[in-house]
C-alpha cells in the first residue's frame, strides 16, 4: 500500500513536471509583458492556441518535421503578438488600466472565435512527430514526449535567460521594466522594446502550444483559455514580473495539478489552480520570489 503510494506520487511528480514546464513557458510571456507594461495580457493564452495551429498546419500541410515546424510556429506567433500590441494595446498606452484590460479580453475573444470561424470548432488530431517510446523505471513510466517537452522547455528558458541577462536588448528590457520614463530619457526606444517583449513572449507561448499538441495529440480553438489562466496563476505564484519566478511557479502549478487529479479528482484540478491564486494573493501578493513594493500614492 505504502509502496504503491510512493510510486504513484513519483509518477504524478513526473507528469506534473512535464505539464509544469509548459505552464512555465506560457507564464514567461505573461510575466515579461506584465513586468514592462503592467498589463495582464488575456490574449496570451490564445497566442498559445495560434502557435499550436500553426504547428499543426506546418506539419500536415507543409510536411515539415518537428524543429522547422517549431521555428515556423514561433515566428508566426511572434508576428501575431507584435501585431496585437501595435493595433490594440499601443494606442491605449496612456488610457486607464481598466480600458487596456477590457481590450485584452476583447482580443482574447476575437482570437478564440475568429479561430473557430477559420479552423472550425472541432478538435483536430495533432500528428505524431516521433516514434513514441516508453521508458520503464520499475513501475514508473516516462514517455518520450515528456522527455522532449522538458528538454525543449529547458533549452528555451536558458536562451531566454541569456537574452535577458547578457544582450543589449535584454538590458533595455530590464531598464524599461524598472522605470519606463527614466529608460526613455536614456534614449531607449520604449515602443520597440515593448514590441520585442511581446514577440519573445508570444514565441515562447507558441512553443508551449506545439508541445501540448505533441503531448495530448489534440488541439482546438478554445484550448488556450484554461492553460492561459493557469499560466497567469503560475506567474503570480512565482512573483509576477520575475522571470525565474514564472519558471518556478509554472513547475509548482503543474505538480499541484497532477497531484490533485491523481489523488483527489480530475474535476477539481481547475478549481485547485484558482484556489492557489486566491491564497497566494491573500497571503503573499508579491509571489514566492517577488519583492514587496508599496504602491505609490
Amino acid at each position: 500500500m505504502d509502496f504503491s503510494f510512493t510510486q504513484q506520487f513519483i509518477q504524478q511528480l513526473i507528469n506534473g513536471i512535464s505539464l509544469g514546464s509548459i505552464y512555465a513557458l506560457i507564464a514567461l510571456g505573461y510575466t515579461m509583458v506584465y513586468g514592462i507594461i503592467k498589463l495582464i495580457n488575456f490574449a496570451h493564452g490564445d497566442i498559445y492556441m495560434v502557435g499550436a495551429y500553426v504547428a499543426f498546419f506546418a506539419t500536415t500541410a507543409l510536411k515539415l518535421s518537428f524543429f522547422p515546424a517549431l521555428l515556423v510556429s514561433m515566428v508566426v506567433a511572434a508576428v501575431v503578438g507584435m501585431t496585437i500590441e501595435r493595433l490594440a494595446y499601443r494606442p491605449l498606452r496612456k488610457a486607464p488600466k481598466i480600458a487596456i484590460l477590457i481590450t485584452a479580453i476583447g482580443v482574447s475573444l476575437l482570437l478564440e472565435y475568429g479561430g473557430m470561424l477559420l479552423v472550425t470548432p472541432q478538435p483536430r488530431t495533432f500528428p505524431a512527430l516521433f516514434e513514441s517510446q516508453v521508458f520503464n523505471f520499475g513501475n514508473i513510466v516516462v514517455n518520450s514526449q515528456q522527455v522532449i517537452i522538458l528538454a525543449i522547455s529547458v533549452v528555451l528558458m536558458i536562451i531566454l535567460t541569456y537574452v535577458v541577462q547578457r544582450t543589449k536588448i535584454g538590458k533595455a528590457m530590464r531598464a524599461v521594466s524598472f522605470d519606463t520614463d527614466a529608460a526613455r530619457l536614456m534614449g531607449i526606444d520604449v515602443d520597440r522594446v515593448i514590441s520585442i517583449t511581446f514577440a519573445i513572449g508570444s514565441a515562447l507561448a507558441a512553443a508551449a502550444g506545439m508541445l501540448v499538441g505533441v503531448y495530448y495529440n489534440s488541439i482546438d480553438p478554445l484550448m488556450g483559455i484554461m492553460p492561459g489562466l493557469k499560466a497567469f496563476v503560475a506567474a503570480v505564484l512565482g512573483g509576477i514580473g520575475v522571470i525565474p519566478g514564472a519558471m518556478l511557479g509554472g513547475i509548482i502549478m503543474g505538480i499541484i495539478e497532477a497531484m490533485v487529479s491523481g489523488f483527489i479528482s480530475s474535476t477539481f484540478r481547475d478549481a485547485a489552480a484558482f484556489a492557489i491564486l486566491i491564497i497566494i494573493l491573500l497571503f503573499k501578493p508579491s509571489g514566492l520570489l517577488g519583492k514587496n513594493v508599496r504602491e505609490k500614492v
Partner: protein, 319 residues
Amino acid sequence: MGKNKKELLALAACIVFYAVVQGLIMLDIIGPFWELNLVLICINIILAVSLNLINGFTGQFSIGHAGFMAVGAYLGAVLTVKLQLPFIVAILGGAAAAGFLGFVIGLPTLRLDGDYLAIATLGLGEIIRITILNIPYVGGASGFMGIPRYSNFTWVFFATVITVFFIRNLINSTHGRACISIRENQIAAEAMGIDTTKYKVLAFTIGAAFAGVAGTLFSHYFYIAHPASFTFMKSFDILTIVVLGGLGSISGSITAAILLTFVSAALAGYPEWRMIIYSLMLIVLMLYRPQGLFGNKEISLKIFGRLMGGTKRGNTQSN
C-alpha cells in the same frame, strides 16, 4: 417638481409600460420569440445594473458575476423543486445566498485591486461553477433539470424595476457617494474618513445578491440550471453590456442590455459571428470611446427638456 413626485411619476410610467406590453403579450401580438427576448432583456438589465454597481460605481473590477448568478439559479431551483416552496421565497433565497457568498468572498478578496481583483473574481466564479458541477444533489455535470417555469414577463419585469430603483437610490444616497468616492480615488476617500473596505464589500454583496435574483429568474424560465450556462463567458457577456453602456451609468447599462439582446437575437442564426462582433465591439469601443456610450451620465427627462430648449443647465453630473 419634488423628488418623491418624480419617483411616483417614473413608477407610474413603468406600470403603464408593463400594462401595454403585457396586454400585447396576452393578445399574442408579441409572440413567444419576442417575449423570450423581453425576458432576456430584463434579466440582462438586472445583471448589468448590479455589476455596474461593483465595476462602474465602486470601481472594483469584478469579472465573476456569472458565479453569483449560478448560485441564485441553483439555490432557487432547490427551494422550488426539492422543498416545494413558493417562487418568491426562491427569489429571495437565491438573492440571500448569492449575497452572503458575495460578502464572504468579498471580504478577503476586495483587499486586492485592479488586475489582481479581476483575475481573483474570475477564479472565484470558476470555483463556484466547478463546485456546483461536483454536487450530485443538484444534477452535477448534466445540470438541474425539471425546474417549473415560474418566471414570466410579470415577475421578471417587476424584479427589474425593483433592481433599478434600488440601485439608483443607493447610488444617490450617502452610501452610494462613498462608493463613488472610492472609485475616484481610494486613498483620498480613505483620508476623508470613509471606511473603504466596508463600502467595497457592501457594493459587492448587493451586486452579488441581485445577480442571484437574475439567476433564479433565469433557471425558472428555461426549466434548467446547467453549469455550462455560467462560465466566465457569461461574465464577459455581462461585462460587455456594462462597458458598452458606460461604467457608472445605469441608463447606459439598460440601453446596452436592450441593444445587445437585440443584436444577439438578430445573430441567432449565425452564432459564430456573435462573439466576434462582441469582441470587436469591445476593442473598438476601448480604442475610440473608452467611457462607453453614455460615459457616466444618466439620461433623464431633463435632457429631453433641454433638447426642446426648455430648462437651462440642469444639475447633470459633470466629470
